[in-house]
Symmetry: C2
Subunit: 284 residues, 2 copies
């Protein structure tokens, strides 16, 4: 990529940030579509977050922010507007400046996950869905799935109070029944979504007992381990459909591009995310 004095600048904010792949996902897209823009990593502490956000977005050619751990919830008090998913989840992963100079945020994690289900042809309408893990990603996924007419959205967390809190958060406005599952049990669910960190380390225990899954159930993971996880291997051993997290990330790309004014690039892709998908997998 060629950076000049006229390059538009975006930042992805995290702490740490070295592991973040967004620059390697989006800069090649800018490049391929002739967009003079660059996405740069910014490692900023929670204490310094307000000063960085408020200072950097005063620059004319800073187009917006990607926001990742641990800032997705902490950035909310700096925003004058939040989209429906972000407000419901209490977190955003994109921030842009409005015409009046104040800041707006949006959350694309859940939207990306739901779009991934569609791409993977994992039906959820009228289905019983279990979400295991209600950290940031889990909450975002629950918020997006609660927009859909599931038969049931059950949510589980090793800390049952967190699952209960999520159910309360979704109590009004959900398009489906939502309930907490105090002790994890994937039996009787059509789709089981894994949104805990278990599997990041090779000797992690399984997040739930795969042997109890229905034979036709599908497991959708948010983890992206090219070599696979214990959960993937257990699903394979039981002949269960399993999908890793690559698609969730891939499907967020159009949302980010549109949010930052590059809808024409999304239109030019004409629904073909195959290049983005290959890149996301190669980076994992």
């Amino acid at each position: 990529m060629h950076i000049t004095g006229s390059t538009r600048v975006f930042f992805v904010l995290g702490h740490p940030v070295a592991q973040v792949r967004a620059p390697e996902v989006f800069n090649p897209i800018f490049d391929a579509h002739g967009i003079d823009a660059a996405l740069l990593p910014i490692q900023v502490t929670p204490a310094a977050l307000p000063a960085f956000v408020q200072g950097s977005l005063q620059a004319d050619n800073v187009g917006g922010l990607w926001v990742t751990i641990p800032h997705k919830a902490a950035i909310l008090p700096l925003l004058s507007e939040v989209d429906a998913h972000g407000a419901r989840a209490g977190a955003v992963n994109a921030v842009r400046r409005l015409a009046d100079g104040t800041l707006a945020g949006a959350l694309f994690d859940g939207l990306g996950f739901a779009a991934a289900l569609d791409h993977l042809q994992v039906a959820v309408t009228g289905k019983r869905v279990l979400l295991v893990g209600t950290g940031g990603a889990g909450v975002a996924i629950a918020v997006a799935l609660a927009d859909r007419p599931l038969a049931l959205l059950a949510v589980n967390d090793v800390q049952p109070a967190r699952a209960e809190a999520l159910v309360q958060r979704l109590a009004t406005g959900a398009a489906c029944p939502v309930q907490a599952q105090p002790v994890v049990d994937p039996a009787s669910f059509d789709v089981v979504i894994h949104a805990t960190p278990l599997g990041m380390k090779p000797d992690d225990p399984l997040p739930f007992d795969v042997a109890r899954l229905s034979p036709g159930a599908t497991v959708v993971d948010i983890l992206m381990k090219p070599a696979g996880t214990p959960l993937r291997r257990a699903c394979d051993a039981h002949g269960l459909a399993y999908h890793p997290g690559f698609e969730m990330l891939t499907q967020q790309v159009p949302a980010y591009l549109r949010y930052f004014g590059y809808g024409d690039v999304v239109d030019a892709m004409a629904g073909d995310l195959s290049q983005v998908r290959r890149n996301v997998r190669a980076l994992a």
Copy 2:
């Protein structure tokens, strides 16, 4: 260049900033020397400068700032330390964070100009030198030349009060006599330095009467017009030595690199700036 989550980030601050060439000068150097760093343009208004500077330099991986017009003097109140040239000129073009989190600044314009004279073998020791133009660049050049044992440093400006103010600024600590020249006259000088904007536009008048220069005099310009300026053509017509501003910019590169911790790159260059020089000329 390849930007990842571990890339170190630098900004060049200006308003406007689209014309700034520093990203195209420094990013290829980072690239060629395997440095995971990127220099990005930031267009920031004077009103937003303090918030941007203080906010952006709280990020762990923001290594420092290049500073250009109109911020070189305005940034001084934000700094806890300024190098000798910067303090004397009342302006800096580089800012970095100190270990205690406060900010330090330095001015390399004059240093680059003085190094360019050496590279071009334009002797000034014991010589009579006239500086025409005491804007930001002119002041920086005067501050650096006043460190050297010239026979005389005369300074002229179309606003005589500005030249007088510069003489006052250099009144103590100069290594040579410094005096103001109220009406520009290049006669009797060995070296005449042109530091006004005249020549940026093709129909600009000459900044001084070239016919009055001594036959052996040398004219050194800060302008970099590949097609040449009226001043260059007048010098050519009178058989006078003339040097454009490319070298001043080229010679600042090692100072910036050392200031931001890349002294090893300067050492690896072993004094050979030919690649940088070609790039600076190609970008002009």
